[in-house]
Symmetry: C2
Subunit: 113 residues, 2 copies
């Protein structure tokens, strides 16, 4: 996960920009945002590919491809149980992205509370 | 700007996912993240293309292209003064994205404070 905010008041380095852009690219897809949303709102906050193909209207290989991208970006974690793999959100990973995109004035206010 | 969070606890609709993915795509590029960062840290929080080509090591047409994508996504605002256009961040736009990506438990805690 990237650690340096582009909004912290100092220009970010190329490597930090590339790291953050990589995670944002994983998020920046309508099917993947819907997958995150479906998993987040599933009972107990987890779902397998078998739960996700019908609501998205996508094939199992396509859903698996999107789940792999989200998992590789650190946004989902995957646990194999029996024949299926179950996915759940990594809330700290998504919160990190949100924090990096929070403008500093707002961050300062939050800290001051 | 999108208004519905994919993490709110209900599956988001396709149109909302497409809207949010569009803004995230504008953000999900290392050169554009560095541009936001350079503009944010510039004196008085604004910069023209003339200020941005050298630190990025990119040509003026390339920088202008990236600035146009960020402006069309609502993340930058542009003001023409004399021969140059000056760009500054739209802090509420970036804060909106950060809020949409803040997991609900964290949002609830913030509200409760």
């Amino acid at each position: 996960m990237p650690q340096i905010s582009p909004l912290a008041g100092e220009p970010i380095e190329r490597a930090d920009a590339e790291r953050l852009a990589g995670v944002l690219k994983a998020l920046a897809d309508p099917a993947r945002l819907r997958l995150l949303s479906l998993i987040q709102s599933a009972p107990e906050g987890e779902a397998c590919v078998c739960d996700l193909t019908a609501p998205l209207g996508l094939s199992q290989p396509t859903v698996s491809h999107h789940l792999r991208i989200l998992t590789e970006a650190g946004l989902l974690e995957r646990e194999k149980r029996g024949v299926w793999a179950y996915y759940r959100l990594v809330p700290t990973a998504i919160a990190t992205i949100a924090d990096l995109l929070t403008p500093p004035r707002k961050r300062a206010t939050k800290k001051a509370r």
